[in-house]
């Protein structure tokens, strides 16, 4: 009937060997992007279906992990990114680069001021801080911080200019620090030091 069975099976085997090992990473990034596990599971499934359909477009030997993340990021942007896109007028510009450093070192008693703060911040705070970043920032921050992709890979994955990646990461970092600092103050981990 169909002569293609053996080739189909070969294709499936090759695909599973190359693509399935990245499921952990895709899932943990999807959870951070979508902010909930149900959507994340759907996104990962869609990613694999799409990747499988386009498997013949994948160049053997090239970076399969980045290719899968590109497909996934695309699905996230097109189908899951919050419909009411948060205005990108995020007020980070009034924060200077070493905001956290300024706040921490003004306490003056520690030689290693970040140690005290980081020891008290809990997992939930980090997740919350990431989740509260606007979608566009969260995407690049997660791809960089969590998955360790290079700027160039992120540009490719998220279809952005290199400069945009850099500036979003930069601003994303400052926002994150501000949020973590605010949690730390509001939870009483540390005392606020007005500038």
């Amino acid at each position: 009937m169909t002569g293609g069975t053996t080739t189909d099976r070969k294709k499936r085997t090759a695909f599973e060997a190359e693509a399935l090992p990245h499921m952990d990473a895709l899932m943990r990034t999807a959870v951070r992007m979508a902010k909930n596990e149900n959507d994340a599971e759907d996104i990962v499934q869609e990613t694999y279906v799409k990747a499988y359909r386009f498997w013949d477009k994948f160049e053997t030997g090239s970076n399969c992990r980045a290719w899968l993340f590109r497909i996934m990021t695309n699905i996230f942007i097109n189908e899951y990114r919050s419909k009411s896109r948060s205005p990108v007028t995020v007020d980070v510009d009034d924060l200077d680069d070493s905001f956290l450093y300024g706040q921490l070192s003004s306490s003056g008693r520690e030689d290693n001021p970040e140690k005290e703060l980081l020891a008290k911040i809990i997992d939930g705070d980090v997740r919350k801080a990431i989740d509260e970043l606007p979608d566009d920032f969260r995407m690049v921050v997660v791809l960089s911080f969590l998955e360790g992709f290079s700027y160039e890979e992120i540009a490719e994955i998220a279809d952005l200019q290199l400069g945009t990646v850099k500036s979003r990461l930069h601003r994303g970092r400052r926002l994150l620090q501000k949020k973590l600092y605010d949690y730390a103050v509001s939870n009483g981990y540390i005392k606020d030091r007005p500038k």
């Binding site: 069975t5 695909f15 399935l20 499988y52 450093y101 980090v126």
Partner: protein, 274 residues
């Protein structure tokens, strides 16, 4: 390099994105400037800290479950591609077949159409149930191997006694290199079926058991009937999945595998006992 220049490149330095020359100059600057070094240490430890916290995050949903879901979705894609060849998705094939229907009917044989309809309505759900189970079973076997445990049994024992009690059908726990590893009930085609899984080192056979009054052999298989003693066998052979229907006593036993090298007609999972 002065402080401002160094700090401007600080994030890129931490991300290992600076050029070799910049990297050397920043390193040199950090060595002699305590203030910048402190900032560097703060930023890089926050970076490491966040990475560690996030990387630890194991999604609560089990990855195994997601894996079998993904595998089932890939099977769907495979089936679309191996289905009627006139177009890959069934829907397209359906239109083509429907368009040909009148012509075929006039010629007098509606076989193609019924084949096709039976394929999607009867065989596909069974194939799908088999494939989903096969992936789970493989994942489970891999786990068992890794943990060098012996916990292969789920409900195999209880299914054996249940079948014996209800239907006087005695299941064989071992069949050549195949071992009965699990059993569950599942609703397929609107009927509650017992779904058993036999596994060898490299293949899976599903066995569905259903009361004969709740399941009739698809018409297009009647030609394939083979009689062996008290057993009637009907054979459905498609590239995606092979199905053999056994009518025995008051039950229908359906065996399914996607491994074409297994001679499913010889895979007789049990016998009637007095």
């Amino acid at each position: 390099m002065n402080c401002q220049e160094a700090l401007d490149l600080l994030y890129e330095f931490i991300d290992k994105e600076t050029s070799d020359i910049d990297t050397q100059q920043i390193q040199a600057h950090l060595k002699k400037c305590g203030d910048c070094f402190q900032k560097y240490r703060l930023e890089s430890s926050i970076q490491e800290f966040i990475h560690a916290k996030l990387a630890d995050d194991k999604p609560a949903a089990s990855l195994e479950r997601l894996k079998s879901k993904v595998s089932a979705r890939l099977d769907q894609v495979d089936r679309e591609e191996c289905g009627p060849k006139s177009g890959s998705p069934y829907r397209l094939a359906f239109i083509t077949v429907a368009a040909a229907a009148l012509l075929v009917l006039m010629i007098g044989g509606a076989g193609i159409i019924t084949d096709f309809i039976t394929h999607t309505s009867t065989y596909a759900p069974l194939e799908q149930a088999h494939l989903a189970q096969a992936h789970l079973a493989q994942a489970h076997l891999a786990q068992v191997e890794n943990s060098s445990g012996t916990e292969t049994e789920f409900a195999a024992e209880s299914v054996i006694s249940l079948m014996l009690e209800q239907n006087s059908y005695e299941l064989r726990p071992n069949l050549g290199e195949f071992v009965l590893i699990s059993g569950k009930t599942e609703e397929i085609l609107g009927v509650e079926m017992n779904h058993l899984t036999y596994s060898s080192s490299n293949a899976i056979v599903s066995v569905f058991i259903v009361p004969a009054d709740k399941f009739s052999i698809p018409d297009d298989l009647l030609d394939t009937k083979i009689v062996r003693g008290d057993l009637e066998l009907f054979d459905h052979n498609c590239p995606a999945c092979r199905l053999v229907f056994h009518v025995i006593g008051s039950i229908v036993v359906i065996t399914a595998t996607s491994d074409q090298s297994i001679e499913l007609l010889d895979f007789i999972p049990g016998k009637l006992v007095a």
